[in-house]
Amino acid sequence: MKVKSKVNPTKDELIELVSEGLRNEAILTIFALCKVSYDGRAKSELGPGDRVIMIKPDGSFLIHQKNKREPVNWQPPGSIASFEVKDENIILKSVRKKPREILEVELINVYLASYFSAEDYEELALTGSEKEMADLIFENPELIEEGFKPLSKEKPIKHGIVDVLGKDKEGNIVVLELKRRRADLHAVSQLKRYVDALKEEYGKVRGILVAPSLTEGARKLLEKEGLEFRKLKPPKRGKIKRGKQKTLDIF
């Protein structure tokens, strides 16, 4: 569902909504009376109060009080959101590994819970490494598959801009959607729309999602829609050897 909300949800309704929202990689927004506890490099507790909690599909977790611009507590993208049931209450949890930080929100009374499957296509220009991925594919089309012929980059079509348009060895039109990070459900939806738009004109059209990895949700949707995946990492920048920072633990 695109959007779902429940006012004064029961415990079961809340569990169902939160699970569905997390599973659909949607933005979860909850208005609740809650307690917050944070344990990381420092420890902090926030007593009961009405707050807005937002959990984004990339792991960003925000807790807003009724004043100020900044959230009173938060976790950055990459954190893992989950929930658990303790006694009669639901606890929303956000965990980060390095540095080890755990943010817990105990929902005492939920006034409104919602999720919003936001899709944002406003990435018209290939950004940084996606452009480099496109260049790499043009130079080495076999990275996609034997016989692949890339024809155009950043081709505008009815519902947006196709990253790479090409033909396979059988002459079928191929649409490539490039992502420099782990691709999610929204990337698959984007690819599907482009493929559907081009099918009207060309008949058989193949859609291939090209990214370093996929979320579980994306993988399932790709399969369901008859679309394909090719693993490709954005190329490392030029000659500048950056190396990867190691920790002392491995020595």
Partner: protein, 245 residues
């Protein structure tokens, strides 16, 4: 407990350096001296401090104490002291706070509440270094600043004749060469090189003011050890390397 330092310079510089890497740590105070060992939250750098009682003008400690210190706050307090001010460290009557008294024209007392620092098992890696170079700290700190103008990481290399500090970036390349004649001590068993983040190195090099010499231990693609030495003070750092591929 009563510790008096005739001038704040060494302590200020050590605490400034440490507060960049760690937020909080346990300071162990014994009748012999004070010590501390802590890692930054990312486990990239380790600091190992030992200040023997000889570094202090006065040193009275009856029994072993473990003080949980918020380093950011300690640094903020010590920044209020001038380099030549006298510093006295003692404990409040109920032992809940560290009292820092700065003496110059007035007697200024700051109470720093002690905190609970969670115990973390710190494993110190056993490393086989291939080179040990002792130089004037300014040479290393200036070399790192030179490298910083082109890159955020630097390669340290040693061969039988020289220590090289080099970096390259979009804006060009930098190479600083320190010959063994310029070093106070130069022992290289095998040529070696490793790459490090300048951000961490710069933080560590803030301790330069405190030290009369620094000793660099290097290997290939292993952490480096940087020892800062001053009268009665030994501050060692381990810094994990950046490895390609």
């Amino acid at each position: 407990m009563r510790l008096v330092l005739s001038d704040a310079k060494v302590l200020k510089s050590i605490v400034d350096t440490l507060s960049n890497l760690i937020d909080e740590a346990k300071l162990v105070v014994s009748p012999e001296g004070i010590s501390l060992r802590a890692m930054d939250p990312g486990h990239v750098a380790l600091a190992d401090l030992n200040m023997s009682k000889v570094a202090f003008e006065e040193y009275h400690v009856e029994s072993n104490l473990e003080l949980g210190i918020d380093f950011d706050r300690l640094n903020t307090i010590l920044k209020r002291a001038g380099s030549s001010d006298k510093i006295e460290l003692s404990l409040s009557e109920d032992a809940s706070a560290l009292i820092i008294t700065i003496r110059n024209s007035a007697m200024r007392r700051f109470d720093l509440p002690l905190i609970d620092v969670s115990e973390e098992e710190l494993r110190i890696p056993q490393l086989d270094f291939l080179a040990e170079v002792e130089v004037d700290p300014k040479i290393l700190s200036e070399g790192i600043k030179d490298a910083e103008i082109v890159s955020d990481h630097v390669t340290l290399k040693c061969d039988s004749e020289n220590l090289y500090i080099s970096a390259s970036g979009d804006l060009g390349n930098v190479e600083v060469k320190v010959s063994k004649e310029r070093a106070l001590n130069f022992e290289v068993s095998e040529p070696c090189k490793s790459m490090f983040s300048i951000e961490y190195l710069k933080d560590m090099l803030k301790a330069v003011d405190a030290a009369s010499t620094i000793r660099l231990h290097l290997g290939t693609d292993i952490p480096m050890r940087l020892d800062f030495l001053a009268e009665g003070v030994k501050l060692d750092f381990l810094l994990a390397p950046r490895i390609e591929g």
